[in-house]
Symmetry: C2
Subunit: 140 residues, 2 copies
DNA sequence: CTTGCACCTCTAGTCGCTAGAGGATGTAGG
DNA sequence: CCTACATCCTCTAGCGACTAGAGGTGCAAG
């Protein structure tokens, strides 16, 4: 029941102060009550919401997806099909990103290995960049 | 020796017309000569530069890194140590990103598997988001 | 009472483009 | 030669998700 300043909320949630204000501005967080001197004063329950948002952001969910997920959380009688769909879509995104990054990794490794540490005209890094055809896996 | 319009350059390089103009604006590409009617007219050699930039962007290099790489390419007598360093730094970034995405993937898979497709109050997706402690690998 | 930090609002900047307005040019057909 | 239409030009503003900074107020300790 203790009221919390924005700085304290930031410390406890791991979300930076300006970011908290930003979330309020875009309506992701409802505006808290204010102290006599017009300073934001949060309830402990607001920390849960902040933690939820932070965790979702860490998992790479977009703000709009988080908005939907928060609405679902607020109304526990709804079907969780949308939450499931959002998470699945995110999973597919992540899997694709991993595949593409693995291709990049292979390419970069070849470039770095092939670098004779001499002059630029023998440098495989520059050479490969200049000629996509020299890529081992050209499908990126 | 044939001059090329910006549209043709875009088609041949795979870089979009506004993006080519953007690259010129930020000084990544030098301004080409102009036709009588003030339209950009590119040399075939400009296509190589565009392809270089496009390839480097596909590999995730930042504009500033590409600026450096292009300078190195322009002066082939320089040591390629900087090119090597840039590529290595990018490789490390990519490796870290892959690791972190793999952790995310595991988390998302658990969330999606655990979803009983019922109501939100039994939904593991929402539950895990609300409580980071329920993560299998909490170090993301 | 003063120091100094934390808070307030507001605007503008970041990155790498992308979209759109409003107008000029170039080309192909009639 | 005229018209239609695609392509080009410049310029400004917008995207997402913040971050930085200016300029001012609140508050707690010494």
């Amino acid at each position: 029941m203790k009221k919390i300043t924005i700085g304290e909320a930031a410390r406890q949630s791991g979300v930076k102060v300006p970011t908290i204000r930003y979330y309020e501005g875009i309506g992701l967080l409802s505006a808290p009550s204010r102290s006599e001197g017009n300073q934001r004063s949060y309830e402990p329950s607001d920390l849960n919401r902040l933690a939820f948002i932070r965790h979702a952001r860490e998992l790479g969910f977009e703000i709009e997806a988080i908005r939907t997920l928060l609405q679902l959380q607020d109304d526990p009688h709804q079907s969780c099909a949308s939450a499931d769909a959002i998470a699945k879509a995110r999973l597919i995104e992540v899997e694709q990103r991993i595949r593409s990054l693995n291709a990049l990794k292979a390419e970069l490794e070849l470039m770095v290995e092939g670098c004779g540490h001499g002059r630029v005209d023998q440098c495989r890094v520059i050479e490969v960049l200049a000629d996509h055809g020299k890529c081992a896996h050209p499908h990126h």
